[in-house]
């Protein structure tokens, strides 16, 4: 029986969790995600991307900070707000964008769409469209590491909306019972579609939601990439040591609607503006980089390069052909 964890604590040494080079690398990935998502929003407006499209703008620091804690062979799984996770895992923006446009050059050859992309090579296990389902699946990724007795860790992301689901707690129970190496990451962006966390959850501190199962946890400023990394390192180390799962609540914010078709009438424009102006993760990282001696011009060059890369992805996503009609019937079953 594990001892009851401490109440959620502030992560330690966040300012020292990344040196200048690492922070620049993190900033680059965060900016890539933002530029990618802005372009995806634009292509959606042009009718080139259809269906559901959930943008990650505002939350970039969470996935990038966590990714900096991982090593070769670790796994990542998340919900349908997944473009940022894929880019952070190192998946090619061209393949992701071409999946958004439903083209044969996409990661799922056009058959998955925004919510369903995977890359075994990069350790990305989707992209899941059913709220909460990936929490049990991510527990299974952790299970496979436990079964194989390696020291790999599964990062399992979900929103604060999913955090009310039964299968989340079934998973917490299983993983702490079996001491599975799973870091559960609640991306608390405050709104489950249009329902604020206060209106949906009786739990006032989501970081404590693992307490009945004896799961240690941290509440983290998810708008600060260094704070995310500091907390992530503690969680990952706990898992690698065979001590079971760890829960992180990332307090974050999405600037865009739940999906492209969400007018976001459930919050004020001022609220969004305030977050963007005062808590933006990219602004914070940029300010720190300037303090550390980088100059504006270098960062501008970096941004231009990323914009060009995203533009290239957008062009690929429009020029890549649609899947052949015969693709309709492939990949239903593995033919043995």
């Amino acid at each position: 029986m594990a001892a009851a964890p401490d109440k959620s604590r502030k992560p330690r040494k966040q300012a020292e969790s990344m040196d200048r080079d690492e922070l620049l690398q993190a900033y680059t990935t965060m900016l890539l995600i933002r530029r990618f998502e802005e372009k995806a929003g634009q292509l959606y407006g042009m009718g080139l991307i259809a269906g559901f499209c959930h943008l990650y703008i505002g939350q970039e620091a969470v996935v990038v900070g966590m990714q900096h804690c991982l090593g070769e062979g670790d796994e990542v799984i998340t919900s349908y707000r997944d473009h940022g996770h894929m880019l952070a895992c190192g998946m090619d923006p061209k393949g992701v964008m071409a999946e958004l446009t439903g083209r044969s050059g996409g990661y799922s050859r056009g058959k998955g769409g925004s919510m369903h992309m995977f890359s075994k090579e990069k350790g990305f296990f989707g992209g899941h469209g059913i709220v909460g389902a990936q929490v049990s699946l991510g527990t299974g990724l952790g299970f496979s590491n436990w079964y194989r007795e390696n020291d790999r860790v599964s990062l399992t992301y979900f929103g604060e909306g999913a955090a009310n689901q039964g299968q989340v707690y079934e998973s917490f129970n299983l993983s702490n019972l079996m001491k599975l190496p799973v870091v559960y990451i609640i991306e608390n962006n405050r709104y489950a579609m249009g329902t604020s966390v206060e209106r949906a959850s009786a739990s006032r501190d989501l970081s404590l939601n693992g307490v009945p199962w004896g799961m240690p946890s941290l509440a983290v400023d998810g708008m600060d990439v260094m704070a995310v990394k500091a907390a992530g390192e503690e969680a990952v180390a706990h898992c690698r040591a065979g001590r079971g799962p760890f829960l992180l609540e990332m307090k974050t914010y999405r600037y865009r609607g739940h999906s492209m078709s969400d007018p976001a009438k459930y919050r004020t424009r001022e609220e969004v503006q305030k977050m963007r102006a005062e808590h933006d993760s990219l602004d914070a990282a940029k300010a720190r980089l300037l303090e550390l001696g980088l100059d504006e011009a270098a960062l501008k060059t970096l941004d231009d390069g990323l914009k060009a890369r995203v533009q290239e992805a957008a062009e690929f996503a429009q020029s890549s052909p649609e899947p052949e009609p015969g693709e309709l019937f492939t990949d239903v079953l593995v033919e043995s």
């Binding site: 799984i77 998955g112 389902a133 049990s136 299974g140 299970f143 299968q167 299983l174 990949d331």
Partner: protein, 443 residues
Amino acid sequence: MVDILMPALSPTMTEGKLAKWLKRPGDAIKSGDVIAEIETDKATMEVEAVDEGVLNEILVEEGTEGVPVNTIIGRMGGDEAEPPAPAAAEAPKAPAKAEAPDAPAPATPAPAVEPEYGETRLMTVREALREAMSLEMRADKDVFLMGEEVAQYQGAYKISQGMLEEFGARRVIDTPITEHGFTGMAVGAAMNGLKPIVEFMTFNFAMQAIDQIINSAAKTLYMSGGQMGAQIVFRGPNGAAARVGAQHSQCYASWYAHCPGLKVVAPWSAADAKGLLRAAIRDPNPVIFLENEILYGHSSECPVADDFILPIGKAKVERAGTDVTIIAFSIMVDVALKAADALAAQGISAEVINLRTIRPLDIETIAASVKKTSRVVSVEEGWPFAGIGAEMIATVVEQCFDWLDAPPVRVHGEDVPMPYAANLEKLALPQPDWVVKAVKKLF
């Protein structure tokens, strides 16, 4: 004097072995004393006395096998101060034998011989399933078994008996009673390359996990453009057992067979169970493996060769005939074969097809038979609406319309939740005479 009766110790038990007497004639018995041990086909159970008194005589000696439920196994004298109670053992007054779900072994039809698979030995479906899992787990360390009570309890239906001891706790894993969570966990493990066998205590409970089975296991291969699938078997008893009521008596064949991305298998005989479960474990796709609790204890000849395995997607003609084709799966193959016997006595030669696999359906075998007989009856335990019978008959009509001499007929479970009362339950489930009547409509 109070009769001590052979108790029924499970919903499907019709007989058992009187393993041991713990009291001798002349011994005083107090309420709660263990008086005997009885072996069912699932477990060894202790029988406790309800009444106080003295054991007067033993009528069935220990070691006797196949003692039918309600046999008088001993007698005891009641306390002088009190009138004797109606029954001494803890056994409830079981219903009359005639209402038991299925007559014991002799009435069970035997499967058709398949000489191509070599030497056979008599074994139960339960043993066949255990052997299939054990063989595959010995051969492939990525295969493991998880579910409720599969390990320390030795299996709720004793399928996994002894497997914990052989394979250890990392490969035979007890789960909490949380189907949604542990099924998702197993599917995640499969996405990462392991090959789980998930035992559901019954498929009724898998409804809590059906999102993970359909949305995660069955669809991921397609959604990932072929990159990532799930090699996983979901198995457990499906359909009605005996007297367990509406929430525990439902056939899920058509639920799962509806979905692309899944294979659905339903064994009948021991050979089916062993050969198909091995194939299911090796299949790179998610496979729903629908067993039947009543069949677990049924014995039939099963090939012993190390490499015995049956192909998924291939039906078997269990009985050749010329006048009508009867198609069935799982325990309904029993019903179909019994009907075929009755029909033979009336001069009608019925061909009985055991589907073995429901999806993909072996249309070739069905069509070849119907083109020969020109008449067809489907038999299933499940409900009729959008059922497997509906699918089979639609397919037959599409493919064999010009060969048919009469409209096809479906025999199926009645379109009601399963009642508890013994007589009503019997009225809800297809019986051989239903099939006989259905066939006779065609002539």
